[in-house]
Subunit: 273 residues, 2 copies
């Protein structure tokens, strides 16, 4: 999916919501457990109920790998089920030496039909380059994450700034706004102004709204740019909104609520900029 | 596998060789392509031919994920085929927020039967902690890697040293020599003396001998410690030693050659220390 198409979808729906399909096999409602693939049944219903309110879906590979090869099968089926109007993210946090990263890129962009994959920056340029080489595909590089461990390395002094700032600066020389985004954790909302100064035109994937505690208002106020530049993810807050037979309906309602809030921020941003 | 058992196996075989099963489906010899799972047939023959000369096998997940769910099936079968006398490493380079890393740990330590998994340090302590919590299992954390991209972040000034040194110092407070090792890239052999000073008792997984160009002699001279403290991996140099029907025999011969060289370094190290 191109940047222009993504922005068009966001404008059309007045939403920059990404729904995270972090589906824990143990959390699928009991009435779905008799299906041959309960996680896939759950995901289909969540997608059907939320697709009008979001522009992206993010599949966290860990939740599927815990079931081994069968989990990968479920991940493939889920990726195929996501409508082509939606931006499909593999939240895989891969990264290895060049020839190995090439295989990860093939795995997620060719074998599976994802538009984007999250990548860890530690190993540097040649570990990221193979992902960037695909036309129409996206690398979403870890910048500043939302967990407590961000304080251990990401937020420590590095060269002439902090490590995550060095990642943003260097990587934005390797990729472009057409093939590279950054993961920016929502619990550090106070940092967005500084981060926008380094990477004004890049899209950010903000993973921490809802269960992880980020404030959508604060993030949107600081991070929206003239091309929106923002995908905000909610996983547990949406997919586990209900636990009964109406779980999908409830997920849809929560997603609709986020989208309505986002429409307000988009309007406000358009009127001030 | 415990540290004592690993050291015992190394002493018994006089080898600290790890064979990397980085099996590219396109590189499996033609005569195996008629099998239902050519990669698994290839791996079985490589394992049978090399097991007497090595103490560990490393499966690089990228080479399997490129085939999707079927590749994960092959990875599971291969992991199950590796003898219990051998240390089984998933070279997966995972790492995510705590609850997600817990699922990766379950995937590789429980769903699959690996003894160890490689983990990326960027996201800090809580992304690594869930792997460390398993008794008898190992976290192999990226320290200094062998690729050119190591110069981008790992080898840059960070706090009061270099980034990879900070990773070694902090992580060796989180784990112990019984559950944590470090990946140290072989093409940087000149650095081993400095690295041993920071982490004298830890095991290192050195991934770069053979096709990646590290010198086994130099590495062994600088990095062996009183408990050996070293696993040296060779992938392509062993598994692609031959391309004909005798490929496994040739792989075995190359592995035996590395082991003989290692026996010499172990003897030499024992006599000087």
């Amino acid at each position: 999916m191109t940047r222009a198409t993504l922005i068009e979808q966001i404008r059309l729906k007045q939403s920059y919501l990404c729904v995270g399909l972090d589906t824990d096999p143990r959390s699928v409602p009991p009435f779905l457990q008799s299906f041959q693939d309960p996680v896939f049944e759950f995901n289909k219903k969540i997608i059907d109920a939320t697709r009008a309110h979001c522009v992206a879906y993010k599949i966290n590979t860990a939740f599927y790998e815990v079931s081994g090869a069968a989990g990968w099968e479920t991940m493939q089926k889920t990726a195929d089920y996501i409508p082509s109007t939606h931006f499909k993210i593999a939240d895989a946090k891969r990264g290895d030496i060049g020839n190995t990263s090439s295989l990860y890129a093939r795995a997620f962009f060719e074998t599976l039909s994802f538009d984007a994959v999250t990548v860890a920056p530690y190993m540097g340029e040649d570990s990221i380059r193979p992902f960037l080489e695909y036309t129409g595909k996206w690398t979403i590089l870890l910048g500043l994450t939302s967990n407590s461990g961000a304080a251990d390395f990401e937020l420590q002094a590095h060269q002439d700034g902090l490590l995550y700032e060095s990642v943003l600066r260097k990587a934005s020389q390797w990729g472009t706004i057409e093939n590279l985004m950054f993961v920016i954790g929502a619990t550090q909302a106070g940092w967005f102004t500084r981060i926008r100064a380094i990477t004004p035109d890049y899209f950010y994937l903000v993973p921490g709204v809802g269960a992880q505690g980020g404030s959508l208002k604060e993030i949107s106020g600081q991070a929206l740019n003239r091309d929106v530049g923002l995908l905000v993810n909610a996983s547990r807050a949406v997919i586990y909104a209900g636990t009964g037979e109406d779980f999908a309906e409830r997920a849809g309602a929560v997603a609709a609520g986020y989208a309505a809030e986002m429409a307000g921020y988009l309007n406000k941003h358009a009127s001030v900029s």
